[in-house]
Amino acid sequence: MKHNYKALGFKAGLEIHQQLPGRKLFSHTPSTVRKDNHDFNITRELRASAGESGDVDQAAAHEEAKEKQFTYQGYHDTDSLVEIDEEPPHGVAEQALETALIVAKLLNMDVVDAVQFMRKIVIDGSNTTGFQRTALVAKNGHIDVGGRRIGIESLCLEEEACQIQERTDTHDTYNLSRLGIPLLEIATAPDITAPDECRAAAEEIGMLLRSTERVKRGLGTIRQDVNVSIAEGARTEIKGFQDHRNIPDVIANEVQRQKQIVDDEGTVEKTVRRAEDDNSTTYLRPMPGADRMYPETDIQILTPNPDDVSIPRTIRERTQTYHDDYDMSNDLADKAVRYELNSPFSFKPLFQEYTSEHLSANNIVELYTEKREEHLPDDERFEEHAELLLTDLSAGNVSYDSVEDILQDIAENGTVDLAEYELMSDDELRTLIQEIIDEHPEAPRGALMGMIMDRSDGQADGSKAAQILNELN
């Protein structure tokens, strides 16, 4: 579906939630989401208290009207008394705060002088306390996407909520293990003017987050919410994107939905909607009013020094460096950096030690990523042989053409004798070629090359053989 987004007065903003590893933000249990059988159940109810004007917040009232019971399925290792709201929070996880500062710098933000955790009232049961602990860490940042500047309004450090397991009219069941995992919430300004730009902005922020090497990876560890509106419509928050690549299609469908209501002379309500698998959106709940927050006095006010952290090189910068310094293809440079992000490993020392006229940086990355992936995935035996193999490849003793056979050999036999793959000396090769020419004086050149490679059993360097054949024939 194509729309003239400019004419429609389209505006969008992103809210990105990224889980952090280590311990829980306010307890010493691990930040692990459990899927296996739970150890205990706790059943609770929550109440919405009236605000200062006697009004109960709109979204809060919506939940209270349900008069629900909440059952929390907990695990003895990931859930302590803190997670079931039976003990005050422990001090903030330093590692998570540091990560927040690093991300603030990557997003060109101003870190606030004093960070105060707040209690944000959330009574849908997803927090056992009835509030989410959240702190504004930085403001006023920006990223550049496709030559346009997108403002970053806020970076918050907060607690992850419980994960819903089952919802009925009277009873919700939650998995407790996720509660308290440190979460970064990054909110852009409503500066996004096209669906593709929204996706690009999400990708840019995702790339910056991964660049820190201090964020959780994998399904469900990063979530994008999109706020969209058109001039005659209303702000809609779309949650639950399974894949950021679907963002443009979901936005197009939501804009179509709002246009349809406007065309039918209806009024678009401010709502929270869920992105579905078919890229449509469905109603979740009314848009909450202004967040109701008050200070979390159980946690000390923090005065972080942003100068204590240094800005890491971004994935893009690292890719560019590999491309520039080692004459590497963009594709392989990207693969190399991704590989590094998933392991405590750097290619740079290997490039410095082993690149030669016989072995390129491209070869090394290909060997570690594609070829290894094909023959020896997750196999420690690769590491046992890697150093000798690289030494021989670099010196020209073994041809890079042989690496697949060598890896296969390790996979099948558990070990390899690299001597078997050593190239013939020029003299040996010359003797072999002369023999073949003498045996087949009438054979065409192509047939001779085939016989040479066949008889040399992988120990002849192809280009060297062709050169000698030219000289002798």
Binding site: R44, S49, E52, A114, Q116, G130, C156, R292, M293, T303
Partner: protein, 426 residues
């Protein structure tokens, strides 16, 4: 600049608008429109402008109470049971006014006609006997209006001391007096305050209850199932933070109140026709509470010579380190010197179980010196209050004689299996 004023804080490279919250540790804290509080360092601030627009405060119309319902009077003494949040500034205040309290807990309208008195606002750990006397006097005055019952709302830390104190000081009570607190302050959606308060009101107003005594009402579990009504002399705070921190020690609760229907599960009938009389505490008393432990020294016990009474928190069945070493023998000597001059009561740091000073020689020797407590199952805290109250009413000799009497239901002749349960169930 007042809390809640709308301000703009100007710094070299920025300006931020929000509501002023406080100045603290060289920072100005403001609440942004997003709801977040941030701190701005004094050194970076070039100017703060205050917007004079009047703060809009809306008032709600109070709902009329049903005067045909039983009267329940609430005495406020502090704590977090009536905490409410002002979301404009994020400040937490206490709702002592009846209408404010009813807007916090509108369910009260269905159970009782509520009146209240503000006595004081203190952390319970700060209370002294003078404060106890204020509460006692508050009850005395409230009783004159013949309510169905009285609730004392307070901080939980020392609630069990107060429950004991009121149990002794309020003789011939014509109605129940129930102490209520919250382990999660009432500004939190997960607070236990409303359920504890409603349970106390339900206990008081129940047709199945006629209890002329002091009780303590708090959560019975960490879920939303039921509240326990503990006898005032038997409750003890046994956990720093859990909702079900209070347990009946060496006994079981009087009854429970289900959160499903706010009905009591066991009928309670303990009435008295005695004349109501208040017998307050002597605020000049000095009562010691000392804990036995390995490698202790006689010197520290000597200070109690200037005290009016002393509770010993012994080990096991009621023992102190009094033999096997010269320093230990010196401890025995000090106790020997103190015992004739001030009442000394043995209790146990095991909390659970009964004192028996006949079983081992250490116990027998202390008993022979005149140390009281043999056969008792009161906690050290309960014994502390009992001795203090006795010494407030009587001279030391009479107090010693009366220590073995069961005055306010504090003693049980037998210990039962269900009085002590382990907590390791899955």
């Amino acid at each position: 600049m007042e809390r809640g004023d709308r301000v703009t804080v100007i710094t070299a490279d920025n300006e931020q608008t929000g509501r002023f919250v406080q100045r603290k540790n060289n920072h100005v804290f403001i609440k942004l429109d997003s709801g977040y509080n941030i701190g701005i360092h004094d050194d970076t601030i070039s100017d703060i402008s205050v917007d004079d627009e009047a703060n809009t405060t809306t008032t709600t119309e109070d709902r009329e109470q049903d005067t045909s319902l039983p009267d329940v009077h609430i005495l406020h003494t502090g704590g977090t049971i009536a905490s409410k949040v002002d979301y404009q500034t994020g400040g937490v205040t206490n709702a002592y006014d009846v209408n404010e309290l009813l807007s916090l807990f509108p369910e009260l309208h269905d159970h009782a006609h509520i009146t209240s008195t503000f006595l004081f606002n203190k952390s319970s750990e700060d209370l002294r006997f003078g404060d106890y006397n204020n509460i006692i006097d508050g009850v005395r005055q409230a009783v004159q209006d013949e309510p169905k019952g009285i609730i004392v709302a307070m901080g939980t830390d020392t609630m069990h001391y107060v429950a004991n104190a009121l149990s002794y000081a309020l003789e011939g009570l014509p109605c129940p007096v129930v102490l209520v607190g919250a382990q999660r302050s009432s500004d939190r959606p997960s607070s236990d305050a409303a359920r504890n308060l409603l349970s106390a009101v339900s206990f008081i107003t129940s047709d199945d209850v006629s209890y002329h005594g002091v009780a303590l009402c708090m959560h019975g579990d960490i879920e939303s199932n039921e509240a326990y009504i503990h006898r005032g002399t038997n409750a003890r705070k046994m956990h720093t933070s859990r909702r079900d921190a209070f347990k009946s020690v060496n006994s079981t609760p009087l009854t429970t109140v289900s959160f499903d229907d706010y009905k009591v599960t066991e009928h309670v009938h303990e009435e008295t026709d005695d004349d109501f009389e208040t017998r307050p505490f002597n605020t000049d008393l000095k009562i010691g509470l000392h804990k036995a432990r390995p490698h202790m020294h006689a010197e520290e016990l000597k200070q109690y010579a200037s005290y009016d009474g002393l509770i010993l928190e012994g080990t096991g069945l009621g023992h102190y380190p009094i033999d096997g070493d010269d320093e230990n023998k010196a401890i025995l000597n000090v106790i020997d010197e103190l015992a004739p001059t001030i009442p000394i009561v043995m209790t146990s740091q095991t909390i659970h179980g009964r004192i028996n000073q006949q079983v081992y020689s250490h116990g027998r020797r202390l008993k022979d010196l005149g140390v009281l407590g043999h056969g008792h199952d009161e906690t050290p805290e309960a014994a502390y209050i009992k001795l203090a109250w006795l010494l407030s009413q009587y001279d030391a000799k009479k107090a010693r004689q009366l220590y073995d009497a069961n005055i306010a239901g504090e003693q049980s002749p037998n210990s039962h299996i269900q009085d002590y349960k382990n907590e390791y169930e899955a």
